[in-house]
Amino acid sequence: MIFEILAASLDNFLKFFLIIIVAIVVAQIINSFLNQYTIETRLKNENNVVKSALLGLVTPGPLGLYLPSLKVLKEKGLSLSMIATFITSQTLVGPLRSFIEVEYFGAVFFTYRVVFSFFSAVAIGIVYKRLERHLEPKDTSNNQSKAKR
């Protein structure tokens, strides 16, 4: 039984091996052109949830890499709605997973997920815009009011 499970797993793994290699290399190529600095520069003065969602969709790599930069951008004035939109679309879809997803579930499924994730991110951004002033962390708003005084 164990041998059967291992053989079936290995067989399945080899079926997807090439596509994963291609996915990893393509993700790295995108990463080299659309690196952290490029994302920061493009996001810095952004005030459009649609653009922020699009930027999130094409951004590769783990979100953890971008969070410190987003924090700095927020301190420099980037709104929370832009950040929430970017985070949402960045986490829901990624270049690496797109290859694996198409291979497993087909292009229609992938397209639906991309389109739906994009609209969800935009909708979340709009909700954030409406609630923005209630969402600021307490310590930040205290600091801001102190600074105003």
Binding site: E4, L80, R97, I100, H134, P137
Partner: protein, 138 residues
Amino acid sequence: MYRRINEIYVNSLKDMKRILPLFFVAILISTIIDFFVSAELVYSVLGANLLVAIPLATIIGMVLPIPRYATYPIAFTLYLKGAPLSVVFTLISGEVILGAPDRDVMEFKFFGARSYILRFVLCTVFVILGGYLMEFIL
């Protein structure tokens, strides 16, 4: 140009070293599910009543302690065993709502509890709605 190619090559190798073993483990888990979990059980839990199955799949996705790309083999096995595509959609999308603990702590700390909770709630609601919508569209 040469520097960029070298960077892509080195980073790709690093990623392969990190991703391929985890992907194999995910495939191993999916094979174990394939061997030991019956299609009837999968259908009764994730296919028979979509009103319950879609939110349930979202929660399962959230608590699965595996990386995003490793969800696919498991979701595919469940699909072959009778889980509908809408359930697969919510499982895969739900998996990314809650990230790695370090990512969530960073988001919580950097942007505040209210922002984190609101995004979490909205994402969950949208993923569940997306699942129901998929059931109508596809």
